[in-house]
């Protein structure tokens, strides 16, 4: 008999911790850290393989005699956790491989310490995924938040980074409180905090809704759903790139996992209007994220906003799943859920790839601002070509992976007009339109991202000395790019794996119909079908035939010459579109979304400078008022602070008297 998957996963998590601890032995030794990260990468592959086995197997649980007395750790692996473990394992394997070549000793945290924080972070995420009671879940959740906080503040000598880390920690804790309250509601007054007990009770009406919305708030804060998204564009640029990749690619997905776990597993029954609200919230987040991504000038901020967009799409898909499930349409619910899970996997791959690519660019050029990059495809061909795969996938283009999940989601949207709620029926076309708009805008954003960084001419002379990424970094990037392509052209295989999850959560399979290994047709080939392999084959075939024909029938002569200067010989690289310039149409069309501060030079300025800052309304509408209110309350409390010992003693004495009076 083979060893149980749960035990293997537990061992792998423990091994990750051990690797992390080993990093502390010689924190400044780069060679040790390199070896440790490579070992961690192997463990990631192992977890992915074990998760594949667990995905097909039956749920398996265990009780560990750890933790407090009378409060042991409950662990469990079912198809849902196995799927997210697969995501975690495969993404982490590639990111660890990249990290092995990435971290060097600098002014910030020592590499060995980073190694410890990094592995504690991934081990905590594993624990979140296999937790089977609220206690373990919260312990793991908080460990994850803390470890990632320390990783974000690696360069803690820079004040902005400390500020970003603080904001992240603050919102993470607001979310954690909401999750804690959610579990409190879910246990229904019985005092039993195991997930098994929560599954067995059905909450009466409003309590169920309360639990759902607490979960949406708590997990939404971690995932970056509007309006709790503000930490994301601050924390991602602050963190080292592999950490950004891990946070964006994997950690955001643990929040989605939590949301799915609570909504479909712990809460027995759902209400249809939860779905409508989640759908609306998700679409608003998606549009908001992508519009802001188009206006960014920092490459990592751009990717962070793009993550908000993708999380929005995931939440919208979840809304759709709830709508279908509550209206007894299991097949459509399964397709929407499959689209959600597929997109989560895709996003983990392409977003990690892009974040890692920005890491390589950052190392090579020391520049994060898009306005100072350009033309790197000549200096860094490896990174550029691999990032192209991520760019095309992120833009949702066939035959890469981003398109498959988009396709599945649109299928689900398209066959909605069978719902009994007529309002929803008529709003769904609008929702589909919003989704399509977000995806089309993602194409715009990705062209901007890739074109400004890698194409064109270098905007700064120093870029001529940029070096391509090293061996480890390349290996990590190649793995992720390969995943993007493979996930794109073998969707039926992936769907077969996802089927285990969909039959667990909504009781139907998504790969029905005429789906075969070649063809994706969940509703039957009559209604819709897509075969990425054939499309890829046809495009590649057409390209090769055209090249052959053109070169055979005529000739392949090429002459190099300077670019045409339109009769104006003083062309400089500064005449190319900057990041601001490229985003300008979006800023103009969606002006109400932004809070734009423009500084125009006067005609008499000796050194004219033009600057435009597009910031987020939410800061001014929501966060600053709350901060001001908190300050005012603090000031009130400040009144009782007198600075004299005898006053404080009086306070204590009065309190004591009051308590005695009250208790006795």
């Amino acid at each position: 008999m083979s060893p149980a998957p749960l035990a293997l996963i537990g061992f792998a998590a423990a091994a990750w911790l051990a690797i992390g601890a080993a990093g502390l032995i010689r924190p400044r030794s780069l060679r040790a850290v390199r070896t440790l990260f490579s070992l961690g990468s192997v463990l990631g592959v192992a977890i992915a393989v074990v998760a594949c086995v667990a995905l097909a197997g039956s749920p398996e649980s265990a009780v560990l005699p750890l933790g407090l007395p009378d409060l042991p750790f409950h662990l469990r692996v079912d198809a849902l956790s196995a799927f997210f473990l697969l995501l975690l394992g495969s993404a982490t394997a590639a990111i660890s491989l990249f990290s092995a070549g990435y971290f060097r000793s600098g002014s910030g945290t020592a590499p060995g310490l980073i190694c410890f924080q990094y592995h504690a972070f991934v081990a905590a995420m594993v624990l979140v995924l296999i937790a089977d009671d609220a206690y373990v879940f919260m312990v793991a959740w908080e460990t994850m938040a803390l470890a990632s906080y320390f990783l974000v503040t690696t360069d803690h000598r820079i004040p902005e980074i400390r500020r970003a880390g603080f904001l992240y920690l603050l919102i993470a804790h607001v979310g954690a409180i909401a999750i804690l309250l959610c579990f409190g509601v879910l246990q229904g007054g019985h005092g039993d905090y195991t997930f098994a007990a929560m599954r067995s009770i059905t909450l009466p009406g409003w309590w169920g809704s309360a639990a759902f919305f607490l979960a949406l708030t708590g997990f939404g804060a971690k995932a970056g759903v509007l309006p709790l998204h503000v930490w994301l564009p601050e924390a991602h640029p602050a963190a080292p790139s592999p950490v950004s990749a891990l946070m964006s690619g994997v950690m955001l997905k643990t929040a989605i996992y939590g949301l799915l776990r609570v909504t479909f597993d712990l809460l027995g029954a759902q209400l249809w209007w939860w779905g409508a609200i989640a759908l609306a919230l998700g679409l608003v987040s998606a549009l908001f994220g992508v519009i802001f991504a188009a206006a960014q000038t920092d490459m990592k901020r751009l990717l962070a906003y793009s993550s908000i967009e993708n999380i929005g799409i995931l939440v919208a898909a979840m809304g759709l799943v709830i709508l279908f499930k509550t209206n007894a349409k299991p097949l459509l619910a399964a397709i929407a859920l499959a689209a959600l899970l597929y997109h989560a996997l895709n996003h983990a791959m392409f977003k990690s790839l892009l974040f890692l690519a920005t890491g390589s660019v950052l190392h090579a050029t020391k520049e994060r601002s898009l306005g100072k990059l350009g033309g790197l495809i000549h200096r860094m061909p490896w990174v550029a070509w691999l990032a192209l795969a991520g760019t095309l996938a992120s833009a949702g283009l066939p035959p890469l992976n981003g398109f498959v999940s988009e396709w599945l989601l649109l299928q689900a949207f398209l066959f909605t007009p069978t719902l009994p709620q007529s309002f929803i029926n008529m709003l769904v076309p609008l929702a589909a339109a919003a989704l399509v708009l977000a995806v089309a805008l993602a194409g715009y954003v990705m062209v901007k991202f890739y074109g400004v960084i890698f194409l064109g001419r270098p905007r700064e002379p120093s870029l001529a000395y940029a070096q391509d990424a090293g061996g480890f970094e390349r290996a990590g990037l190649v793995a992720l790019a390969a995943a993007c392509v493979l996930l794109g052209i073998f969707p039926a295989t992936v769907l077969a794996a996802i089927d285990h999850v969909t039959s667990l959560l909504v009781g139907s399979q998504a790969s029905g119909g005429d789906t075969s290994w070649l063809l994706l047709a969940p509703l039957g080939a009559e209604r819709s079908s897509y075969s990425p392999l054939i499309v890829l084959g046809a495009i590649v075939g057409a390209v090769l035939i055209t090249i052959q024909l053109v070169h055979r029938m005529w000739h392949g002569r090429v002459r190099r010459a300077p670019a045409w200067d339109c009769g104006f010989p003083l062309q400089t690289p500064r005449m190319q579109d900057t990041a601001e310039g490229f985003g300008q149409p979006i800023r103009q069309v969606f002006e109400p979304f932004f809070r734009i501060e423009r500084h125009l030079p006067s005609p008499f300025d000796a050194k004219p400078r033009y600057s435009v800052v597009a910031s987020d309304h939410w800061w001014h509408w929501l966060y600053l008022p709350i901060a001001r209110a908190a300050e005012a309350v603090a000031r009130l409390f400040g009144l009782i602070q007198r600075g004299r010992i005898s006053v404080y003693l009086t306070y204590s004495f009065v309190t004591l008297l009051a308590l005695l009076l009250f208790v006795l």
Binding site: S422, F423, M426, L427, L430, P592
Partner: protein, 222 residues
């Protein structure tokens, strides 16, 4: 797929064109084109009334179709056009809200009124019942147009277009109103138009402009 009888198809087509015209009016910046659109709306309305009259063989609807043609396609547009020429206000600049946003609100209104109309139209037994939602949508869109415009003349056109929508709703829900009511409304609209025309001159005399924001000065306490 079962095809509807020709008359229903025609009525559906006219209803859709009405909706389209309502959106076009919402998006139109030029006053003269707005009057043209209003006249077209009247024409479509009278045609659809005639088709209803033909398919249900109710002669009094022919009369109301004729009345619509006379009043809303010929007299009122002519009056409006003359007014615009005399006042020399050919252009209207930006409205209160930009046009894409207005359109978006318009679509939401359409969804709202379609849903509102669904249960009502299931109760009705007329051949034209499914167009009730469109009639309601046109009323709401005209209302929206009145809200978003700054200048007096587009607001009046919005008001008249709203009356068109109401008329269409009446035709589609109950095969039209009694003749007396219809004549009364027609007279009201005509007289209202004339009075408003006089008002325009007065407004311009007073403020040197037809921009209604000047009327804000009339409120008390300043």
């Amino acid at each position: 797929m079962q095809a509807l009888p020709l008359s229903s198809q025609l009525i559906n087509l006219f209803a859709s064109v009405l909706l389209l015209l309502a959106f076009a009016m919402l998006a139109q910046r030029r006053v003269v084109s707005l009057i043209g659109l209003f006249a077209t709306q009247g024409l479509v309305l009278s045609l659809s009334t005639a088709v209803v009259a033909w398919s249900t063989s109710q002669p009094h609807l022919y009369e109301s179709a004729g009345l619509t043609l006379l009043l809303k396609v010929i007299v009122l547009p002519w009056l409006l056009y003359r007014l615009v020429r005399k006042l020399d206000v050919r252009w209207e600049f930006e409205g209160l809200i930009n046009i894409p946003t207005t359109m978006l609100i318009g679509i939401v209104l359409v969804v709202f009124s379609f849903n509102l109309a669904l249960p009502i139209s299931q109760l009705a037994s007329t051949v034209t019942r499914s167009t009730l939602g469109i009639a309601m949508a046109s009323v709401m869109l005209s209302f929206l147009m009145m809200i978003t415009r700054r200048k007096a003349i587009p607001q009046v056109i919005g008001f008249l277009a709203m009356e068109n929508g109401l008329f269409f709703a009446a035709t589609s829900a109950t095969y039209g109103m009694p003749m007396v009511v219809e004549l009364g409304i027609a007279l009201d609209v005509l007289v209202g138009m004339l009075i408003l025309g006089v008002f325009f001159f007065q407004i311009r005399e007073q403020f040197d402009s037809l921009d209604l924001k000047h009327l804000e000065k009339l409120k008390e306490g300043e």
